[in-house]
């Protein structure tokens, strides 16, 4: 952990950090100027017009409409600027580039678990440098919040619903990951590190850890595929059985019987497992049972990962 940042902000180590910092400093300096102006005037008036005797008889000052109007208009303009600016950077923070490398994040009292597409799992986050990384996060209990000060990103993590955060690290180093949403007793211990590797090191790390991990999500998914009897209706080789084949399913566009359509992304796949009747793909019937909703969250993730791999 090299650079310590500035007095106000921690080291900046992501592509968005620069934009956030620029806005932060803009508001900080405008605020400082305003503050000095207001408080300076206050001190000046308090001294200049201090009471000299109890017989002082100040005459009322006529209200100056121009001044009243100006301190309505000027602040309005200033806040309009920072709103639009903040809004633009917010969009940048919110929309992950399409080529992002995805990592699954599981938050629970009081630790983080990171799962990589290769099957590696770790309690510290490992990411490649100069590559957008998108985290798909879910909680197993209460609300947590994923916070990397050096990247200027933060997002709450809920049970029962994915939330996302993305960043692109700009420096090989390690940074702190904290839980920002109060989550109970050991909230302040729910810290870990994000290790930024070079692209090669990252591949190596993945390879080394995939070997050590007992099974990848996709492998666990494969086991579940046979355990749960999915093969009965879903082939892996494109042959149409009772249900759609899994081959090439992920990422394809699904046309539904009600005329709508959707892309088969992770959320769709998960939805289709836990609630198959919600959307019926054209050419199929609503035959699949809804009982798979009782699978554990980890098993569902594994199945989704398995389907995505086909």
């Amino acid at each position: 952990m090299g650079d310590q940042g500035t007095v106000w902000l921690p080291e900046a180590a992501s592509t968005v950090a620069g934009d956030v910092d620029a806005l932060f400093y803009f508001i900080l300096w405008v605020s400082t100027i305003l503050f000095i102006g207001v408080i300076g005037t206050m001190v000046l008036f308090a001294w200049r017009f201090r009471r000299r005797s109890s017989q002082d008889r100040p005459q009322p000052v006529r209200e100056n409409k121009l001044i009243e109007a100006s301190w309505i208009v000027v602040p309005t303009l200033l806040v309009a600027i920072v709103f639009v600016w903040g809004f633009r950077v917010f969009l940048e923070l919110g929309i992950a580039p399409p080529n992002s490398y995805e990592i699954d994040v599981r938050a629970r009292k009081w630790s983080w678990l990171f799962e990589y597409s290769s099957g590696a799992q770790s309690s510290e986050l490992h990411v490649p440098v100069h590559r957008p990384v998108k985290l798909r996060m879910i909680s197993e209990d209460v609300i947590h919040s994923f916070f990397v000060p050096a990247f200027r990103v933060k997002a709450d993590v809920f049970a029962g619903r994915y939330s996302y955060v993305w960043f692109e690290a700009t420096r090989q180093d390690t940074f702190v990951v904290a839980c920002a949403e109060y989550c109970g007793m050991a909230h302040s211990q729910m810290l870990t590190r994000v290790v930024v590797h070079s692209q090669d090191d990252f591949e190596n790390w993945l390879a080394n850890n995939a070997a050590d991990a007992d099974m990848t999500p996709a492998e666990r998914g494969e086991r579940l595929y046979s355990q749960q009897g999915c093969f009965a209706c879903h082939s892996l080789d494109g042959i149409e059985l009772t249900g759609p084949s899994f081959q090439g399913l992920a990422g394809s566009t699904r046309m539904f019987t009600d005329g709508t359509s959707a892309e088969a992304d992770a959320n769709y796949l998960r939805q289709a497992i836990v609630n198959p009747a919600a959307e019926i793909v054209q050419g199929y019937e609503a035959l699949m049972p809804g009982t798979y909703s009782s699978l554990s969250a980890a098993d569902l993730d594994a199945l989704v990962a398995f389907i995505e791999a086909q």
Binding site: R161, Y164, N275, L300
Partner: protein, 211 residues
């Protein structure tokens, strides 16, 4: 008359009451007619008119100090603010990809399930229908092995009691070469256990004996 208040004539009160009763009847009738998306707004519009009538005449807002009208309007206004700004979140999550669509991925949404008309529990169903609806996907009648074993000559292999158990509780005995859990999960999902009467199951077993 020290308070100097407007006394609302009995006639006015009676007319308003009659209109309220009429509107109640209308809202019941219109709600029972299928109007698609119009049902909800219509019912709310009728309820709104009724509420307005009660407020204006029964609560005498028409004759009251204007400030009380303002007070009531503010209350309603902020209830609407609460409602609409909350819905601006709950209905639009997922815009910009900041979070994903929908509210819960783990919880099951059951709306579409309901669109299938549930089969009445007591109704008797012919064994052919039952077979077509619940069994054919996995069990053939021509000896070919699918997800499950073929049902030809089943009664030669198993007594009726055992067949009944295999249907109602398929995981007690799983024939080697086949996968457990699948049948019960499928039948559960299709609503077999709630929708097929005991009599139908009995006749299904008898019918299987003839195959």
């Amino acid at each position: 008359m020290a308070q100097g208040h407007h006394i609302i004539p009995i006639r006015t009160l009676a007319v308003v009451f009659a209109v309220l009763v009429a509107l109640t009847i209308i809202t019941v009738i219109t709600a029972r007619i299928e109007l698609g998306v119009a049902n909800v707004p219509l019912a709310l519009a009728i309820a709104g008119s009724k509420a307005l009538l009660v407020a204006i005449v029964f609560m005498a807002l028409k004759y009251d100090n204007q400030v009380n009208v303002l007070v009531l309007s503010l209350g309603v206004l902020f209830a609407v603010v609460f409602l609409s700004l909350t819905l601006a979140d709950t209905e639009l999550r997922g815009v910009l990809g900041i979070t994903d669509a929908g509210t819960t991925v783990i919880a099951v949404e059951a709306e579409e399930v309901l669109q299938e008309e549930p089969v009445p529990v007591a109704a008797y169903q012919a064994p052919e229908e039952v077979y077509q609806r619940y069994c054919i996907t996995c069990h053939s009648l021509d000896g070919t092995v699918g997800v499950g074993p073929s049902l030809t000559g089943l009664t030669d292999r198993q007594p009726p009691d055992s067949i009944l158990q295999s249907i109602m509780d398929p995981d007690v005995i799983v024939v080697s070469g086949y996968t457990g859990l699948v049948m019960q999960a499928t039948l559960n999902g299709l609503g077999f256990y709630t929708n097929v009467s005991d009599a139908s199951v009995d006749s299904l077993i008898a019918w299987l004996g003839d195959q």
